[in-house]
Structure formats: C-alpha cells, structure tokens
C-alpha cells in the first residue's frame, strides 16, 4: 500500500499537514516566517511528516511545451505556482531500515517503513542514511521520528489522515500497482492537454531505491521541489564498502606486521 501524490491538483491548502499533526499528535516545531512563498514549514523532519512546498515561477500558467529555454520575466505575462505535498517515500529498499542498528525501524505488513519508538535509542544513523532527508531526531526527545503512513489507521481499515483530509484528491492512498496505473493515465491525460512538464517521480521499481511507496506526479524537475533527482539507497554499495573496509583493515594488520618483521627483535637493525 502507498501514496500517489498528484501535485497538478494540489491547491496548497496544507490540510494534509494539519491532519497529520492532529492525528499523530506530532508536536509543534517552530513558528518561523521564512519568506519562501507560503512555505513556513520548510521541510520534512521529526515533527513534520507532511510538508507542502510552494514554488513561484515566472512562466505562463497556460500549458506550453518545455523548450528548455530559461523563461523570461517579461513578455510571457504571468506566473505559475507549483505546490506539492511531500512525505516519507517508504522506499522498497529503505536505507533507514537497513542501517538501523537496533531493529527499531521495520517493514510492516502493508509494505511501509515504521519506527518502533520504544526501541529507538536515538543513535541517529537513519538520518544521514535517508537519501530524501525525511527522518530526523526530535529535539528534547532524542529519538528518530517520521511518517508511519498512519500505521494505526491502516490496521483499522482506514486511509491515512493526510489522504483523508485532502480536498482535491491530490493525495491518493491505495495498492501501489493500482496507483501506478492511475498515475500513468493521469500523465498521458496531462500530456494530451499540452502539459509536457508532467512526469512521474519514484514510481519505477527499477530505480535506485526499488521504487517509492509514496510516489509523485511533478510538473518540473524533482530538485525544484527539494527532491533528489537520482536517489540511491546507500546500502546498494555496502558489499563494496565492506570489501574496501576489509582490505584496509588487512592492509593495516599486514603493514604493521611487515614493519615489525623488518625491524625484528629489539636491538635488531633500526
């Protein structure tokens, strides 16, 4: 099970942010004025499990092929506003889960990734392991927190709070293969309407994280929304990391043994 977030119909109402905070009793995490359009939430973290990004672009609202030129401020007449609700991707190959040394992070029966807060000892390893910058440490608590995809609601046969609260169905919850089909149709529909920018992100089970459990329809490059363009689960390279580490350890042992062999017993050649 997972999320499909269709940002082309997001209206930036932040009902998802509020519903998430309310349902999951996520604490308040600062009331800052950022000047980043209507985004004072800033990004995902321990106390922000849904985050609506606001991007204002000097481009006509009307659909036009993306010819790769830098849009100019004058002449085109208008701006477009991109809004997108970000969330934990619940990766098929989840780095946070892989590197967690306590087994606190686990894969649920719904295919989602959840932190068991009674196990987490706050080592913080999952935080830099996440290629999306999702999970973080809660101040004053010390443990790592992130979206659970409303594990408690799923167990009761309900949809996650954010999807439930979304007034435009920008956030859709369901079985992933069904969502992927729906997303592909939506992209085709948008392309047919001349919205050439529309593309899916995180939908491909062949990508660097084996596909996201929460994927998106975007209207610009992922990095414009603060998403990595080509995320890879760090543990994909772990066999090679271990081999290089083993070789280095062997070099240290062998090198120092050789040094002593050359110098011999005390009083031997210097």
């Amino acid at each position: 099970m997972g999320f499909f977030t269709d940002t082309s119909v997001c209206i930036g109402c932040k009902a998802c942010e509020v519903a998430c905070k309310e349902w999951n009793a996520v604490p308040e995490d600062g009331l800052e004025f950022t000047g980043m359009s209507y985004d004072n939430t800033q990004g995902l973290g321990a106390d922000t499990w849904r985050h609506v990004a606001f991007i204002e672009q000097d481009r006509p609202v009307s659909a036009r092929p993306d010819d790769g030129t830098v849009p100019s401020a004058e002449g085109d007449g208008g701006m477009r506003w991109l809004m997108s609700s970000d969330v934990c991707k619940h990766c098929t190959h989840a780095a946070c889960l892989d590197v967690c040394p306590t087994g606190s992070l686990f894969r649920t029966e719904f295919g989602t990734v959840v932190v068991q807060e009674d196990i987490c000892n706050g080592c913080g390893y999952c935080i830099p392991a996440c290629p999306y910058g999702v999970i973080d440490q809660r101040k004053g608590d010390g443990r790592a927190w992130k979206c659970t995809l409303c594990y408690d609601r799923l167990g009761a046969g309900m949809e996650p709070a954010c999807a439930k609260a979304c007034p435009t169905d920008s956030i859709q919850y369901g079985p992933l293969d069904e969502l992927r089909e729906r997303a592909t149709l939506r992209v085709e529909q948008l392309h047919g309407m001349g919205v050439e920018d529309a593309r899916l992100y995180g939908h491909d089970p062949e990508d660097g994280v084996g596909g996201d459990g929460a994927f998106f329809l975007l209207l610009d490059e992922p990095e414009v929304y603060g998403l990595p363009p080509d995320p890879v689960v760090t543990t994909r390279d772990l066999p090679s990391i271990w081999r290089h580490t083993g070789a280095a350890a062997a070099a240290l042992a062998g090198g120092l043994a050789a040094v002593f062999a050359v110098h011999g017993l005390r009083g031997g050649p210097r």
């Binding site: 950022t34 980043m36 359009s37 985004d39 973290g45 990004a53 606001f54 991007i55 204002e56 672009q57 000097d58 830098v70 849009p71 701006m79 780095a95 892989d98 967690c100 040394p101 306590t102 196990i119 987490c120 000892n121 080592c123 913080g124 390893y125 935080i127 830099p128 392991a129 996440c130 290629p131 999306y132 490059e221 990095e223 414009v224 929304y225 998403l227 990595p228 363009p229 080509d230 995320p231 760090t234 543990t235 090679s240 990391i241 290089h244 580490t245 083993g246 070789a247 280095a248 350890a249 240290l252 090198g255 120092l256 043994a257 040094v259 002593f260 050359v262 110098h263 017993l265 005390r266």
Partner: protein
C-alpha cells in the same frame, strides 16, 4: 518572483568560494534547488563525540596491533604503553558513543540485533568483543597476573584492532552524505593510515626511543597511506571534493596534513636520538590524526547541508546513464 525553484541562475554557486586563490578544479556547477535548502537531513551527530570516536577508535585499534608487535619482539615498555593507551582510547570512545545517543539509557539496544547491513550494528558487536580484550590486555600487563591470558588478550585485541580502526569508514560511507558515500573506496585507507600514524605517535610520546624504531617506520607508512588515499579520494569526488578543501573542513584537512607530515618526518629522523623530538613528533602525529577525522566529519556535514553536492553529481549520473543508453 519568489524562490529559487524556477531558475537555474538562482541556484548557481561556487563564485564566492575558493579563497586563498585556489584554482577551480571543476567549472561552476549550475543546478536548481528548493530555496537553496538541503535535500538531505544532515547528521545530528556531535563533532566532539563522533569525530572524536573516529580518532580514538583508530588510536585504540592500531595501537593494539603495535602493542602485540612490541610484545612479541621484546619491546616491553612500548607494549605496555600502547596497551594502556588502547584501553583508555576505547573507553573514551565508547563513552563518546553513548553520550551521543539521543537516549543514552537505551545503549544496550545496540546489541538487540546483529545486522550486517548496518555498520553501526557490526561495529557495536566488534566493540563488545574488542573492548574486553583490550581491557584484559592492559590490566594483565600492568598487574602481571595470568600472563598466558595476557598473551591471548593481547593477540585478540590485535586481531580485532584493525577492524575497529577501519569500520568507522564504512559507518560514515554507508550514508547518503555525498562526501562520505562517494569516497567509500578510499575512506577506509585514509582512516587506517591515520590510525597507524596516531598509534605510532602515541608510542613515540610514551615509550623510550630504543624501542620505537618500528613505530617510526609505521608513522611514515601510515602518513604516506593517509595522504595518498586522501588525494585519490579527492580526485574521485569531483565537485564534492570542494567540501574537503573549503571552510572548516579545508582548514582541518590542511592542518592534518601539515601536522602529520611534520610529525612523521620529525619523529622518524630525530625521534631515535632526541627525546624532545620524539615527544613533539608523536604529539604532532596524534593531533594530525584528530584533525583528519574532524576534517572528514565537517566535510560530510558541509556536503549534506548544500543541495549542490546532492543535485550536481546525481544529474551527472543521469546524464552518463542517458549517454550510455544512447
């Protein structure tokens, strides 16, 4: 217009960097980002705890190997000094690790599972085996009790020591932090070279000159390995190498190189004759090793905090893949 989402020029970086007149190694990278905000959540680890742990773990691990070598070749004072320093270092590093936990009272959860996919899990088990061995080696050496068990503990600590010195590189590399992950091939060699230099430095400080000839050689070899591996790593890292050359990390890495080279040269050339030179050289080697670990740590932070180092290499990867497919 508000924000940087829409335009490449807003995301352009690199001009204001490169003080000290360093020539740009790579052309200014153009990239787009969300208001210049990081894509990754940077590590929440405290530098004093985790970089300190990298240093102390290296000092302890390489020290145990040198201690066993000294023990076997009759360099008793050096062996004793290194066993004590390894115990002190591993005790300090374990304390730093526990102190860095968000929930220190739950540190025992580290041994709740054994996960080869988590270098931190494997490292915890390694420490759980190495710590007692290093402790027994030191205590039995000092007390003179149970000499056979002392030999075994010395050998055990020496067998596990290289792992303790090297695995912290895997720990750092197995993250999405660009400066650490992309350098995973060389980082373990940087770390063991630095560890050998530090432990040799400790021997130069704490042991009489007549016993430290092998450690002086080891200091030179360790220094050469560390500097060589660092250069290779920086070459591989491309634009990410900036994070090792600029700012806090750059200052630390330059200090590390100067201290390590000076320590190895001074210790190797004069440490056999002059006690002062040995102590100064050893102290420089120790300080240099610490600077290396703090430098690597800060480079990682820097690379995670600037979206440039996430976006530009990933875009490059996409381009290469597209070129390969075409």
């Amino acid at each position: 217009m508000i924000g940087q989402g829409g335009h490449a020029p807003d995301g352009r970086r690199g001009r204001r960097r490169g003080r000290r007149g360093e020539a740009a190694m790579v052309p200014d990278a153009e990239f787009r980002s969300y208001y210049g905000r990081p894509i990754l959540n940077p590590p929440v680890w405290k530098a004093a705890d985790i970089a300190g742990y990298f240093f102390l773990g290296g000092l302890a691990g390489a020290g145990s190997v040198l201690a066993a070598g000294a023990h076997l070749t009759g360099r008793r004072a050096a062996a004793r000094a290194l066993k004590i320093s390894s115990l002190a270092a591993i005790t300090g590093s374990t304390a730093a690790l526990i102190h860095d936990l968000g929930r220190p009272a739950r540190f025992a959860n580290m041994l709740r599972v054994m996960k080869p996919t988590s270098p931190m899990s494997m490292g915890s088990w390694l420490l759980a085996a190495y710590g007692p061995a290093a402790g027994a080696a030191a205590v039995l050496e000092v007390t003179g009790l149970l000499p056979r068990l002392g030999h075994a503990a010395t050998a055990g600590a020496a067998a596990l020591g290289p792992g303790v010195a090297a695995y912290t590189a895997a720990l750092a590399a197995d993250t999405a932090v660009p400066a650490w992950h992309e350098g995973y091939r060389e980082l373990p060699f940087v770390f063991v070279g630095s560890a050998a230099a530090a432990a040799s430095g400790m021997a130069l400080v704490a042991a009489p000159a007549r016993e430290t000839a092998p450690m002086r050689t080891a200091a030179v070899c360790g220094t050469a390995l560390e500097i060589g591996a660092t250069k290779l790593m920086e070459r591989r890292l491309g634009v990410i190498a900036e994070t090792y050359r600029q700012g806090t990390a750059g200052r630390l890495m330059r200090a590390a190189q100067a201290l390590t080279v000076a320590g190895a040269a001074g210790g190797a050339l004069l440490g056999g004759r002059s006690r002062t030179a040995a102590v100064l050289g050893g102290a420089a080697l120790l300080a240099g090793s610490a600077c290396t670990r703090f430098g690597v740590f800060h480079a990682g932070l820097r690379s995670a905090e600037d979206p440039k180092y996430t976006v530009v290499p990933q875009r490059e990867r996409i381009r290469e893949r597209a070129a390969g497919a075409a």
